[in-house]
Point group: C2
Chain length 179, copies 2
């Protein structure tokens, strides 16, 4: 058992880096939020990845949220190396709003990030980016609430992915506090 696997299934995202001919896309599970105000997100990237050099070079990345319909692209982006793989996918780029790194057409959301810090932790670099702009598909986040049936992808193990069941659960307790 790999200890980190105990946190799985984890949501899987697509990370866009670079620009023009250099533009690359990597699948990433090791992504989270690290601050509310300002909105900062963190991403662990191995220095072996082409994405690592592109984020270092341009100080920008986009975190795109793939739906179940993008599972093949997620797999290729995670399994293969460098921008040549893009030709094997159905990925299309769109201009971002605030940064030069493009967003992904067809993604459920795109978070445009400018790097504010990087740190080495073990065998990965931890890039922290401020979300400077974003776009999303209204039907997946109506009223600011993610719709669990939108097909959000999570990674289980090797080539296995899951999505959420449609049913929403609420606690049976009331509290005066707030989350």
């Amino acid at each position: 058992m790999e200890a980190y696997r105990l946190l799985y299934p984890m949501r899987t995202y697509l990370v866009v880096s670079g620009r023009g001919e250099e533009t690359n896309v990597m699948a990433a599970d090791w992504v989270t939020v690290v601050s509310h105000r300002p909105t900062l997100v963190g991403l662990a990237v191995s220095p072996k990845r082409v994405t690592w050099g592109l984020i270092r070079k341009y100080g920008e990345f986009v975190i795109a949220v793939p739906g179940l319909d993008m599972i093949d692209d997620v797999w290729i982006a995670g399994a293969e190396h460098g921008p040549e793989k893009i030709r094997k996918t159905s990925i299309e780029f769109l201009p971002s709003r605030a940064i030069e790194t493009p967003s992904l057409k067809g993604a459920l959301a795109n978070l445009e990030c400018r790097v504010v810090d990087d740190r080495t932790y073990g065998d990965h670099t931890w890039f922290v980016g401020e979300v400077v702009s974003y776009s999303y598909r209204e039907e997946a986040f109506r009223g600011g609430r993610p719709d669990p049936s939108a097909g959000f992808l999570a990674h289980t193990y090797r080539s296995e992915f899951v999505t959420f069941a449609g049913r929403t659960y609420r606690p049976n307790v009331r509290t005066d506090g707030r989350r």
Copy 2:
């Protein structure tokens, strides 16, 4: 729309900190893996949280993986403040294997972490811990593979939680690369 919500639904975990009478439990969505070897995990905690002071004081925390049967405890742990709330929950502690901070009985897994770094990012502190030991329920992680039907909890919005659908999806493409 809060931009960070575009990464949701995100897995939700319980973070144990402190020891003895001080032992506290907090719900946390902002958790991820940051290194494979050594296995390092990161966790964003607001300095307003009791957990923040306890992690600083003892340099340890446990990330417990709650199942759907613990949704009420997750809600109380997330909504209320300090160790007094534990009495309102059905939480029971177990000794951990390698650290003094206890694990949670009934959790699907417990990852015992020793802090190796902390950084301030915006309004949260980013604690990075090395996973020095762990325990898990075999039926939820048979053969090292998380079983999507084990009732892993994800947080959608406010008091709304979801779990994964049982069906596993695999990409329809083959690749010579590896993820």
